[in-house]
Symmetry: C3
Subunit: 264 residues, 3 copies
Amino acid sequence: MDLQGIKRIREVNPVVVNYANFVTPFLVANGLNAVGASPIMSEEESEAEELVRLASAVTINLGAVRREGWADIETLCQAANDQQKPLVLDPVAVGATQYRQQLNFRLLKKYQFDVIRGNLGEIAVLAGIDWQTRGIDAGNGEGDAHQVVKACAQKYHNVVIASGATDYISDGTRVVEIHNQTRLLPAVVGSGDLLSSLAAAFCAVGPNPLQAAINASLTLSCAGERITEKLHDQYLPGSFLSGLMDELANITVAQVEERMKVEE
Amino acid sequence: MDLQGIKRIREVNPVVVNYANFVTPFLVANGLNAVGASPIMSEEESEAEELVRLASAVTINLGAVRREGWADIETLCQAANDQQKPLVLDPVAVGATQYRQQLNFRLLKKYQFDVIRGNLGEIAVLAGIDWQTRGIDAGNGEGDAHQVVKACAQKYHNVVIASGATDYISDGTRVVEIHNQTRLLPAVVGSGDLLSSLAAAFCAVGPNPLQAAINASLTLSCAGERITEKLHDQYLPGSFLSGLMDELANITVAQVEERMKVEE
Amino acid sequence: MDLQGIKRIREVNPVVVNYANFVTPFLVANGLNAVGASPIMSEEESEAEELVRLASAVTINLGAVRREGWADIETLCQAANDQQKPLVLDPVAVGATQYRQQLNFRLLKKYQFDVIRGNLGEIAVLAGIDWQTRGIDAGNGEGDAHQVVKACAQKYHNVVIASGATDYISDGTRVVEIHNQTRLLPAVVGSGDLLSSLAAAFCAVGPNPLQAAINASLTLSCAGERITEKLHDQYLPGSFLSGLMDELANITVAQVEERMKVEE
């Protein structure tokens, strides 16, 4: 397992272009900045090609897309695929509306995404497995998490992260479980969005999408655990958010190695 | 007085759909999340009907609406009225421009809002009472706060919150004053937006809009007082914001009862 | 040197209208609020003229502009020039794409900006001096900072701030260097955007754009130094951001005088 990704991000400062939703871009930008990546956000089609040229990876977050934005997103995806830059999809609340499903399936049909990051409910929808979803929550339902992430990764020939109390990561063959967690990550709206963009940053420094996904998940959840411990496990979402940025800026490979709980 | 609303929110986790402005959605989403509600933000007309179906309440914030957004807003309002979901209006800076007045009065004519939350200057504009306003500030002017909130509530057959150093809440007959306050709430841009969305969350768990408005006001102002005391009443807007999220996540009915200053 | 600007801002509470990007408006709004100004954000052409009438200064931030926004921006700029309200430009990442250069040069040709605030790479692009830029970073390149800011100020007949480890400020004749700094300011995405809007707030209270630019730079960097010291110089971006708002709300003229390092 190659856990040196965070070191490479801090050396290389990869530019990550984000098609962001308007709710969490400040969190995502500052989280990327904290780990050492260089965020740029844009919604304008005419600069997409050039921005992707500057970038080392691209994240598409579908949290709040207006119909007018579809062309912008497609141009970004096309540029990422043409230029062979890693492309990450965050299918926010895809289970909530027909509109979101239409947009997600359209993009997944036309473009190759290297990583998809959602909660288990969202991943199930993309995999075509019945799973109850409700808005931005993970939903509860039948089905086995391993089966869901594996099916989704096989369907789209990529790496899938289903994040939650346990993060399930699959490349269609293997399924890796990350058991590091804190109940405070879900207390921050946008922590999932940040994980998606972190996955893009880690993809930018290799060695492959599966390892990048694992590193992104470990970095966020171990940073979260560290600040949760400093808060003596109190449920303090405001203090946690502030401290999470502090931890992301300082977390080391050794600290991740020390506390990581990875199962396969 | 039924102060159990916060307990019910934490049990039910009501989904609140927000038409948000682009300045404060992160604060609003995290504030809703902190109290136990489940926020979703959208600006896309084609998913409005479905989102409202998932939701238990809807907030329309007019802080930064482009002309292109009018149809999206109207579709959300229509869906909320059709589906009899509580609908809350935040008429941000309605006194500042003709454009804002046009939009507000159009919506208030076509749709039934259960709660309107603004500062006294904004509420006066909606009530048709002369009151000096300037941008996002409350303004100073002649007139009696009781008369203003009562007139507004009577005009629109709903519940009105005029928030400020004192929160005045009326259903057109009664006027309730909430005297809990901290000078730090106005120090956070978006604390009013948050109060509006909290009102929607409390409407979702009943028993009626008046009580929901009172509970929203008490929850935010008592949480604000608690963190202000922990900061030894120092004027520290950054620490306050972070601490406010912590308090909203933990405040209990007993803590509200202990410090509430309600007059009628 | 007139350092009383911060006192005047707290007395007058000038309204600053911002055409903001969607990533950092919450930071900018709260930073303006913390120093005592009154922020308003809008993207709607039809209210531009009226909002500028209410305002004492206008900031145009080009961090994430869609083609559809050009008309809105031009209407704001025209209103500011017509009404002789100070107008500030933030040419975010102008070096990154042709699209951004097109928009920036179009605005600079048609409207008179009183202050331009960018990093050295961005200012060099506007000055027409070759300088390597990459996304939102300052870039490295040949050339002398004094020459760059002076040339830019001469070209556009205004005051230019090139912010970074040292802030270089020029009115085309003089070049003032502000050596107060902390490595934590660049750790916050949007600290540059905030500086641009602070420059507008200081322009609103005079005595002239050069002094306003110096005061804005000193206020932000001295506040940054103060909180950095309280954090014992640890690299903690989350704690820094929260503490920066606290400091901006409380910093005094005497505290700035005590630590300012200004060279000319």
